[in-house]
């Protein structure tokens, strides 16, 4: 992880549709859209006091993707010393794309998959803008 890479930290809520959308979008960004600029961080790895990845999260900016207003991803990253460059909420993206109503948990419905794709594009654009600012 270099200074110019970006951590993508999605919601860890298991059994929640919006959490699944958050994770799916994070995978799309880190595996398909911007694999050379981003890495995913499992939120649960940051939680233990003796976490071996807390030093890593402080090495680069993070984009958090939360599934609900509790905003665990944004809070945990901030509380463990990371820098939350952008804190996104799945619900905010859904409100702008009402036709993409998510459902399902282990397997998202078509709306959920498309919503994750839209969200991933948004995250990828933010990653690009962060890089541009860094280069400027």
């Amino acid at each position: 992880m270099t200074q110019r890479n970006v951590w993508i930290v999605p919601c860890s809520g298991i059994g929640k549709t919006y959490g699944s959308v958050a994770r799916e979008s994070a995978f799309i960004v880190t595996e398909d859209l911007r694999p050379d600029k981003t890495r995913i961080m499992a939120l649960s790895r940051l939680v233990p006091d003796d976490s071996d990845v807390r030093p890593d999260i402080r090495q680069a900016d993070s984009i958090t993707i939360d599934g609900c207003k509790l905003a665990c991803a944004a809070k945990v990253v901030a509380e463990t010393g990371g820098n939350v460059a952008y804190a996104l909420q799945v619900l905010d993206v859904y409100r702008a794309h009402r036709e993409l109503r998510p459902a399902g948990i282990a397997e998202l419905n078509e709306g959920g998959k498309r919503l994750a794709a839209v969200l991933a594009e948004k995250v990828a654009a933010l990653v690009d803008s962060m890089e541009e600012k860094h280069d400027a």
């Binding site: 929640k16 919006y18 609900c68 207003k69 409100r95």
Partner: protein
């Protein structure tokens, strides 16, 4: 149950709910505030927390005549779709258009900026149907919340 002069407060497990004493409540989770000869409606703190973040609020337009139980609004949350039955018979004078643009106001400020509709009730002597005062509603909420925790 904690309380002060203006609110009752109920904590169940990790959740705390607040209920203004001066309001009445329907079993479906709507609150009612009598303002002169009019009644303002909204969603109770318990109902908004129970149903989760609200994605969209659909309001029945001003001018609509309501009978008891007619839908006054419907909401889509991250968990469920809910139709909210009116506890008031009368005419909708005004709806809160702000919650159509920002439905999260219902979650953030259910008894204030998140109000839903303002109604001219028909017949002031008994404009409300099947409503509970704050203490009775808290007892109902406690029962519902504890039942859900056990399930």
């Amino acid at each position: 149950m904690a309380d002060d002069t203006t609110h009752l407060e109920l904590t169940v497990d990790k959740f705390t709910f607040r209920f203004p004493r001066d309001l009445h409540y329907s079993e479906a989770g709507l609150w009612m505030r009598q303002e002169g000869s009019l009644v303002r409606l909204g969603l109770s703190d318990f109902a908004q927390q129970r149903n989760g973040d609200i994605a969209f609020a659909n309001l029945v337009p001003a001018g609509t005549t309501l009978n008891f139980g007619d839908e006054v609004a419907s909401i889509e949350t991250v968990k469920v779709d809910i139709s909210l039955p009116s506890p008031v018979k009368g005419i909708i004078l005004e709806v809160n258009s702000a919650i159509q643009e920002a439905p999260e106001l219902i979650n953030q400020d259910p008894y204030g900026r998140g109000w839903i509709a303002f109604v001219q009730p028909e017949g002031l002597e008994r404009p409300l149907f099947g409503v509970l005062d704050a203490e009775a509603y808290v007892a109902l909420v406690r029962e519902q919340a504890e039942t859900e925790l056990k399930s």
